[in-house]
């Protein structure tokens, strides 16, 4: 009986992934719960380890990514961590306790969308499309690999989205296609974040009507313009499906006000769902507007939950 009880314990230590899980957990806690530090020879220190003006080379530092609150990550620290991983991967492993004389683990850390899956990784990207954090060794496709995930939120989030003007500079309709808009060209269903910022009328003194049409399309569909269904609707923003806009799924209408932000993510996803889009299907759009100063903001990866730009910090150790 003693031997029967004892044997699994002996072999369990041999199983790598059991030990790996704890290593991945520890790295997750360090990165998502600690601010990090930079320590000077006189004993004083700062949490701004990423700022070269406050933490000069040669001083002892430790990387953490938060802004002083658990799961609340600082984009500046993330950027510094990405550079550190690129420049000195082995040193980071030593700092994080993944490299010591008897063990040497490999590491990959990334910031991914909440919709990301191992089969379809969706990285969080800056407005210029470069990943915010995708650092370390390439993840092997086989072997003992442990994955650990933490939900986090990012600040400042506006660096992760592009604001692009799609209004009509004159008193005549103008069309813009998502393919021509950086950050909006690779949207997939369900859309993470899309909003319209309405500044006001282009020519308020004329009293001419103003409207905005926003038509959602399947990838590769050849669009015509996106005039709101039923013709010009003065003072109305219409979001619908197809170009020209169809009556089904039912379009969504919002009254237009100057200096107003319209976060249309939920309505866009409702329309796409009713149009029978599948998870991961590419989404395009064409917008038309008349006499309106309007811009579009979109992100293929960022998701706002409870007013926070939420992402997943994903840690692989093997």
């Amino acid at each position: 009986m003693f031997i029967a009880n004892f044997l699994p314990g002996v072999f369990a230590d041999v199983r790598n992934e059991i030990g790996l899980m704890h290593e991945a957990y520890r790295v997750g806690v360090i990165l998502s719960e600690m601010e990090g530090y930079c320590r000077y020879p006189d004993g004083n220190g700062t949490t701004d380890w990423h700022d070269s003006s406050k933490c000069q080379p040669g001083y002892k530092f430790f990387p953490g990514l938060t802004k002083g609150q658990v799961d609340y990550l600082d984009l500046e620290k993330i950027s510094a961590f990405q550079n550190l991983m690129n420049d000195n991967y082995e040193f980071v492993k030593t700092l994080l306790g993944l490299k010591h004389p008897d063990r040497n683990y490999e590491l990959h850390v990334s910031l991914e969308s909440v919709y990301s899956t191992p089969q379809n990784r969706i990285l969080i990207r800056y407005a210029n499309n470069t990943p915010v954090l995708d650092a370390g060794k390439h993840i092997p496709i086989s072997g003992y690999v442990t994955k650990y995930e933490r939900f986090v939120w990012l600040d400042p989030w506006y660096r992760l989205v592009n604001v692009v003007y799609i209004g009509s500079p004159q008193n005549s309709p103008s069309d813009y296609h998502s393919r021509d808009i950086t950050g909006c060209g690779n949207l997939t269903y369900p859309v993470s974040f899309i909003a319209l910022i309405v500044e006001g009328k282009t020519a308020p003194e004329t009293g001419a009507p103003w409207w905005v049409g926003f038509c959602l399309l399947r990838e590769g569909e050849n669009p015509s313009s996106c005039q709101p269904r039923g013709g010009e609707k003065d003072g109305i923003l219409t979001v619908g499906f197809g170009s020209p806009m169809k009556s089904s799924p039912a379009p969504e209408e919002y009254p237009l006000y100057p200096r107003q932000v319209y976060i249309i993510t939920d309505d866009v996803n409702r329309i796409l769902q009713e149009a029978e889009f599948n998870h991961g299907d590419r989404v395009e759009f064409i917008s038309s507007s008349k006499n309106t100063n309007v811009s579009v903001v979109c992100s293929p990866s960022l998701k706002f939950i409870a007013g926070k730009a939420v992402a997943k910090l994903v840690i692989y150790v093997w």
Binding site: F11, I18, M21, H22, F151, D266, V310
Partner: protein, 173 residues
């Protein structure tokens, strides 16, 4: 020398070796459910539950109102329903839980606890039966009494401010 005895000894050693190899192969090719392994899996679920509550806890307001999908917005918008009978979180809050938990294969139960008079009262907002491997996470939310006017909590004997404990129980079905 007794050849028969020698053969028995060799046979014993050989069978012991075969048994050892078989056991080693068995434990290498199948999952060892050790306490360490369970603890690691539970810790991932616990972290997910705690992170979910942290994400949803946002005392900032969108104009005059809390975000509907925040814990504060969810509690203040429990309206036109009877606590413990038909009160459910709003759709936006449910969608947030769907994205953070359901889409990742987790099931969950949501409870709300608060002090009423001289006793602790509670209600179940999402009523599902946890499995034995479930883990729980809690978050305390502080709201002023005037913020829950018009909700299903108005009329109760509450202190000002009111402290709510939101308890999220998560498991893999």
């Amino acid at each position: 020398m007794n050849k028969k005895a020698q053969t028995f000894t060799l046979e014993g050693v050989a069978s012991a070796l075969i048994l050892l190899v078989a056991l080693y192969t068995l434990y290498q090719s199948s999952l060892v459910i050790s306490p360490m392994w369970n603890e690691a899996v539970n810790m991932q679920m616990k972290m997910i539950a705690q992170d979910t509550l942290k994400i949803l806890d946002n005392p900032k307001k969108e104009g005059e109102e809390y975000y509907l999908d925040s814990l504060q917005g969810m509690i203040t918008n429990l309206r036109n329903c009877q606590l413990g009978v038909d009160c459910k979180p709003n759709d936006k809050f449910m969608e947030a839980l769907e994205i953070l938990l359901s889409s990742r294969g987790f099931d969950y139960r949501l409870e709300l606890h608060w002090v009423e008079g001289d006793r602790i009262n509670s209600t179940v907002l999402i009523d599902k039966k946890p499995s034995p491997n479930a883990v729980a996470a809690s978050r305390y939310i502080l709201l002023m009494k005037n913020e829950i006017l018009g909700s299903s909590f108005s009329g109760l004997q509450l202190y000002d401010p009111v402290i709510f404990e939101v308890r999220l129980i998560v498991w893999r079905p």
